[in-house]
Symmetry: C2
Subunit: 331 residues, 2 copies
Amino acid sequence: MKPMEQRLAENATMINGYLEEALGGQEPELLGKASLHLVEAGGKRLRPYLTVKACEAVGGRAEDAVPFAAAVEFLHNFTLVHDDVMDHDDLRRGKPTVHKVYGVPMAVLAGDLLFAKVYDVALNNRPPGMPAERLIESIAKITEAAMTLCQGQALDIGFPSASEVSVDEYIEMVGAKTSSLFRACAQVGALAGGGSDEQVEALGGFAWDAGVAFQIEDDVLGVTADEQTLGKPVGSDLREGKKTLINIHALENATEDQRRRIGRAFGVEDASREDIEAAVEALREVGSIDYARGVADEYVARAFKALDAIPDSPAKEELKALVEYFVKREY
Amino acid sequence: MKPMEQRLAENATMINGYLEEALGGQEPELLGKASLHLVEAGGKRLRPYLTVKACEAVGGRAEDAVPFAAAVEFLHNFTLVHDDVMDHDDLRRGKPTVHKVYGVPMAVLAGDLLFAKVYDVALNNRPPGMPAERLIESIAKITEAAMTLCQGQALDIGFPSASEVSVDEYIEMVGAKTSSLFRACAQVGALAGGGSDEQVEALGGFAWDAGVAFQIEDDVLGVTADEQTLGKPVGSDLREGKKTLINIHALENATEDQRRRIGRAFGVEDASREDIEAAVEALREVGSIDYARGVADEYVARAFKALDAIPDSPAKEELKALVEYFVKREY
């Protein structure tokens, strides 16, 4: 099997051309540029990859999944553009966010256009032989994800800090903000590939659990990876007092002393490198990092088990490899 | 025929129940309330009325059009919520706008949810007997309108004042901001009612032209109606330097002296009642009000002509009466 980076890059190239063509020639030009801004900023195109591989895993052709892969990537980009407006974030994928460059009104509008494009590409590029009822089902899955993403973002806005969130609420929020779209990706890929209802459901279940594991692993990397791997300063999640599974677990389980050491970095914007290191050490002592890793592993195991309903194939192996690549990295 | 007000009110009652049910039980509660805010503020439900009557005009049952009528009303409300954010407007339908009550982040999100609900209601309430292909066609029409609405709003943001817009650009913008959704309303109503392709197109054409006439008549009312009819101070469009067909025509055709009199009110926030009256008199002299009325009449005539392709029926008469009611009012 080719290295994961190469497979993701090949898939991204295929999807990017499609995305840029779908947004090409947009009038007025400024709206077109604002809509393309984040799309062109790159990204691993993980969701399109999931869509394409789910299609292949049920015996479909990759090209039949491409319109849906583009649709889910548009949906993802739409939510990122609007989330950045809501969260007042200045940087995304290493570039200034859409509203920093084009202003809030145009960013809201660019997000809206990307949302409309979700349906435009999915409706107007039906793969040959895909029954109308299956197209409707696909669009309904995408719509369900869109509604759940709104719900997840509302939960995120509603609970601004880790101290207000329980582990269960965290899992619910990750489910809504990440897994709902992962699931839709796998479902529409399987639908485009002509999968059975059982296969569509199995791949959707796989993707849901994989999404939770991905998000938790992101939390783990935030305190264990080095700055180069992370692309942002180590301990940013701590400094920002972010709702990560690690932080939530630690706030619930730390002793007075550990809590004090964590508190010197947690939510402290100008915490020093030493404060961060001491806090991470305390998180380790509490067992919060191991706890998060354990939960991620559970979700990976559940995700893999869901794939039992799918016949063995290279695509099935690639789906597993994707999860291994993102969740089982050693640092 | 019942009075127009009564028919609109009966239709609104039917649609409102549907809209509120579709948003009911939304979690988290705050997102649900923010999404319902504008929907509950009322409105004439003109677009749902168009949808239902287009359905009946091709021999369909009103109830088969209701999910689509709800969808287009959600689309309309989504654009209003986001437009108010973009334009920093504080009042809508006599109530504070969503972002004034719930803040910009929640207003952006509420708009996004309303947009997702467009598809949710349309996809999951297919009328018995409506073929899948026709449902797909309906959703594609709605999507096309959504994309064009984004384009229209971008044009609106891009040309902030009347002096930068030609008559042709004004008509293009009105088409994108109003007629595109009017057309989709009539098209999906006709599709839900089982209309032929020719009927779908004819009703779409009717609605497009009616939309342009509606918008121009709004411009005319802005300088000819009294405050009670208008629901806002007479001459607001003048004070705000708004892009109305009347203002654009006047800026292109006024003499020096007329231009001077108009200039005392145009874009002058604290223009006095006398300044406004003198400016309106000048607009009248230039012929801008008659010009706008003439253009609206032309669009009404074209709209009515498009209906020739539809067999006579009470619904067809009601569609004509709707246009007469809104465009041919005497003041």
